[in-house]
């Protein structure tokens, strides 16, 4: 079971609102498993606070939600939280899951090189679909659920202390289950299958 857990949850546009809301259950689960959980949400999802809390808690698990690029993960208002070549060392000794675009391409390998135990993330843009009328109640959105339930299961498995390789598999299998669901069940949501395949093929598990 992880001794300390750090989670970032910025909230400032439609995409981050979905990630923020869908990760609430991960935070709840983390708090049930550990007395040392830092939920860096809204303005607290900034670099200074993240670096400070990681230094203090030395978390075994770090979950990063938000926008990003191949070498960067962003916090509230697009503030750079972690950038390869600048401060990836703060991930040292942690198992990391990054629900942000493309960061497994450069930042992931750089983090492993800097001493992170493992890094699960996406090599390309993380893509998901949602209907406009659910934007203010993202957590109830059945369409976005097809994409964010797999990532929530992965993150929950990680905060529950499962080996990161197993957590990666849990995420992949949840994506595959949802893919089969939309293709098999005469679902009107068949059009999202291409995006589910994209996300699951770009999810990677990196380790030392």
């Amino acid at each position: 079971m992880p001794q300390a857990i750090v989670i970032t949850r910025p909230f400032y546009d439609e995409t981050t609102s979905y990630l923020h809301r869908w990760n609430l259950d991960v935070v709840k689960q983390a708090k049930a498993k550990s007395n040392s959980v830092a939920d860096l949400k809204y303005k607290r999802a900034n670099r200074k606070e993240l670096e400070s809390i990681v230094k203090k808690l030395k978390p075994e698990v770090i979950i990063l939600n938000g926008h990003g690029s191949s070498d960067t993960i962003l916090g509230q208002g697009d503030e750079v939280l972690i950038k390869a070549g600048k401060n990836e060392h703060i991930l040292k000794n942690s198992n990391v899951f990054s629900l942000s675009c493309s960061s497994a391409k450069v930042l992931g390998p750089a983090s492993i090189k800097a001493g992170a135990k493992s890094y699960i993330g996406y090599k390309e843009d993380f893509v998901f679909a949602y209907p406009k009328d659910y934007a203010t109640r993202a957590e109830q959105d059945p369409l976005a659920k097809l994409f964010l339930e797999p990532t929530t299961k992965l993150a929950t498995a990680l905060v529950n202390g499962n080996p990161p390789e197993d957590c990666h598999e849990i995420g992949i299998n949840a994506f595959l289950k949802n893919l089969q669901q939309v293709l098999l069940s005469n679902s009107t949501e068949e059009y999202v299958a291409r995006f589910l395949v994209w996300d699951l093929t770009n999810q990677v598990y990196l380790h030392s």
């Binding site: 843009d125 893509v127 679909a129 949602y130």
Partner: protein, 79 residues
């Protein structure tokens, strides 16, 4: 138009036709690039933008993975 360009145009037409199945009220979040509805995605493809190229890449990857049998995969971390 040379043979290569003609092939690219045909692929773009195929992707546009397939994206046309998206309901109009659905947004697609493409990370930091923003979110797009069906009409906007089709415009991006027709204008050959980076997002348009990404949509073509997603569609081709989907068709490739279906051919490889991803539908039957389970517990396979190679995906």
């Amino acid at each position: 138009m040379n043979k290569e360009d003609k092939k690219k145009e045909e692929i773009k037409k195929l992707v546009v036709a397939r994206l046309d199945a998206l309901p109009p009220n659905i947004s697609i979040s493409v990370g930091s690039e923003g979110h797009f509805n069906k009409k906007e995605l089709i415009e991006q493809i027709e204008n050959d933008t980076e997002i348009g190229k990404k949509m073509v890449e997603i569609e081709l990857e989907y068709l490739r993975k279906l051919k490889e049998g991803i539908f039957y995969a389970s517990g396979n971390s190679n995906y």
